[in-house]
């Protein structure tokens, strides 16, 4: 019964249906995009001139609004002069899917136009480095502080009011200050990511740690655990999987700060690439670059999700639940027959 129902409230769907829906969630926007790109009468508001005819201000490869083209066409017809020729196209800023798909390859092979300009892979590498350092530095301080705030009311009362206030200050507002203090290279960019991540991180992790089941803490106390060992042996392990999930979400937020961070000081990384390509009107490359950010972010998250199931075996579904044996049961030494 449960398996026939696609819309069971809060009911997990079987594996095949989950995959199908995942596919569909990506397929639907692509289909829409393709339709707008390949079916001429859906949108295509411009006409690309292929022959100028007797219209003075038309030129080959020029895109003109359809109304203008029709008007000039009627005029030439009435005057008996040579009519212009052309076909309907979408604006340049909406390339078709196949063009963007091709750009995924060509963007990497397009030689930079200026001598100091980086290649695409260098730009991407630069962006990933910025995110990495911003996030790692923030986590090195933010995670322990969050755990302290979650464990001890003392630290929570001491830190959280200020952090709560600071969190409302938009990270990009510190751009100019960061440049003044840290120079124009990567320093201020990493600082922006840090500011954007850190304050949320402390609060989110503090909250997660506070949610640890007090019964577990009491159980540990009756077993002789106290103070620091209670934090290390109970509170941290009890909340570590939720902290891990928080970190995945926070990493996503760090990516959203990337573009702002990269315009601070000298523009760099993927933002620089996107900007240059837009200036050259290579919009297919622009789309490809934007999607690459999505792909990198999304696949990092998938990898982290998978890593989570390896790191935290107790969170894994049981054999009976998932139908597959757990890693633990596969690695466990087989009992020796008597």
């Amino acid at each position: 019964m449960a398996h026939r129902d696609w819309l069971g409230l809060k009911m997990e769907l079987p594996r095949k249906r989950r995959l199908l829906l995942t596919l569909l969630s990506f397929l639907a926007p692509v289909v829409l995009w393709s339709a707008v790109s390949y079916v001429p009468w859906l949108w295509h508001p411009l006409v690309r001139i292929t022959a100028q005819g007797d219209v003075d201000y038309f030129a080959e490869d020029m895109d003109v609004p359809r109304a203008d083209f029709d008007r000039e066409l009627a005029k030439t017809r009435a005057a008996g002069t040579t009519p212009p020729e052309g076909h309907r196209v979408n604006p340049l800023y909406l390339p078709a899917p196949h063009e963007v798909a091709r750009a995924f390859y060509t963007a990497f092979t397009t030689e930079p136009r200026l001598p100091n300009e980086p290649w695409l892979h260098e730009s991407l590498g630069h962006s990933i480095r910025t995110i990495f350092w911003g996030f790692v530095l923030s986590s090195l301080v933010g995670v322990p502080l969050g755990i302290l705030c979650g464990s001890y009311r003392f630290f929570s009362r001491l830190q959280e009011p200020f952090i709560e206030f600071f969190r409302y200050l938009p990270a990009p507002a510190f751009g100019a200050l960061c440049v003044a203090i840290l120079g124009i290279d990567d320093g201020p960019k990493i600082a922006i990511i840090f500011i954007g991540t850190f304050f949320q991180q402390v609060l989110v992790i503090g909250n997660t740690v506070r949610k640890v089941d007090p019964a577990l803490i009491e159980a540990a106390q009756t077993l002789g655990a106290s103070r620091w060992r209670l934090v290390r042996r109970v509170i941290i392990p009890a909340s570590i999987t939720d902290i891990y999930t928080d970190m995945r979400i926070l990493l996503g937020w760090a990516w959203t700060y990337l573009i702002v961070a990269e315009v601070v000081g000298t523009m760099s990384g993927i933002t620089y690439f996107i900007n240059q390509q837009a200036r050259y009107r290579n919009f297919d490359n622009v789309y490809a670059a934007i999607m690459m950010i999505g792909i990198i972010g999304f696949s990092t998250d998938l990898i982290l999700a998978w890593l989570g199931t390896v790191l935290f075996p107790w969170k894994r579904k049981t054999r009976t639940a998932s139908g597959r044996p757990s890693l633990w049961s596969r690695l466990r030494p087989k009992p020796i027959p008597a």
């Binding site: 089941d213 019964a215 577990l216 009491e218 159980a219 540990a220 106390q221 009756t222 077993l223 002789g224 655990a225 060992r229 042996r233 109970v234 392990p237 009890a238 570590i240 935290f312 075996p313 107790w314 049981t318 633990w328 466990r332």
Partner: protein, 298 residues
């Protein structure tokens, strides 16, 4: 309806002698005039007061009473997880000030550590007390064998049934060799069959281990089956209504459920827990009118 049921206080000589022997043993836990009030000055609410109780070594005490009479609060104070507002709890003559490994606790909700395997759960207290890993490991294995879960030492708690989880929790508490094992309705969440099994397991374990047990329940039969002495509490405010020396001889078995001793005890417990209303009328909910039911409902 009045059946001729003998008074439970007419103990057989053998049982009376047994209680005489228990009274000779040293007092492990002494609860003296304990009182707990909730709330700050304005509106205080007395959970219980005037509770006094001496528990002797290797005694099995059951505390029974209606919901809200303060049973959980009482043992949380004994465990050191709550503070009393009056009176004292003495363990081996020393006042209890906070939680400690000398009082093992088993909660209704299992409270196993989900990130640790079954064996690591049992090792937790041993490591807290400074035992090295190899000793802790072998001791944990012994305790798991004792509760019949040796084969599951590498499993995680979520892979076990409720009854198995509670056995691990018992092993984990006992591994610390506590002076007293405190259990708050440990089997209440289990199905009837598993509960019976667990009760008999618990008696077997108690037979083998030198431990005193303070057991909370709201199940009369459970108390009658397990306890040496039953402390009956009443509500509003919580008070001890009666101390009952269980007349049913040990070893206990289901066959005793029809003996005069068992029935007399049960009758007295029923009387205390579900007293007849003052008007003598049956304590019943008003009849609710049923609508739109077919003819097949009477």
């Amino acid at each position: 309806m009045n059946l001729a049921i003998p008074d439970y206080r007419q103990l057989s000589p053998a049982v009376a002698a047994r209680f005489e022997r228990i009274r000779q043993r040293p007092v492990i836990l002494s609860i003296q005039d304990l009182e707990k009030k909730f709330g700050t000055d304005g509106a205080t609410h007395t959970a219980f007061d005037n509770v006094s109780l001496d528990i002797h070594r290797r005694e099995f005490i059951c505390v029974i009473g209606p919901s809200g009479c303060g049973k959980s609060t009482l043992i949380r104070i004994v465990a050191g997880l709550d503070e009393a507002t009056g009176g004292a709890v003495l363990l081996d003559g020393h006042a209890v000030t906070g939680p400690g490994p000398d009082r093992g606790m088993v909660f209704q909700g299992y409270t196993l550590f989900p990130w640790l395997t079954v064996r690591a759960n049992v090792m937790f207290g041993l490591e807290m007390r400074g035992k090295d890993t190899t000793t802790a490991e072998s001791e944990a294995r012994e305790w798991l064998d004792m509760v019949g879960l040796g084969k599951f030492e590498h499993a995680y708690p979520h892979e076990l049934s409720g009854g198995m989880k509670q056995r691990v929790a018992i092993a984990r508490a006992l591994a610390n060799e506590p002076r007293i094992l405190i259990m708050d309705e440990p089997f209440a969440a289990l199905d009837a069959q598993t509960r019976c099994q667990m009760q008999s397991y618990l008696l077997q374990i108690w037979k083998k281990v030198d431990v005193t047990i303070l057991f909370i329940t709201h199940d009369l039969e459970e108390a009658a089956y397990l306890a040496d002495r039953i402390v009956v509490m009443g509500a509003n405010p919580g008070r001890v209504v009666e101390f009952i020396e269980n007349p049913v001889p040990r070893p206990r078995s289901a066959a005793q459920f029809l003996t005069a001793e068992y029935l007399s005890l049960k009758a007295r417990l029923e009387e205390l827990i579900h007293p007849p209303t003052e008007t003598g009328e049956e304590d019943r909910l008003p009849m609710v009118k049923l609508t739109n039911v077919g003819d097949d409902v009477e």
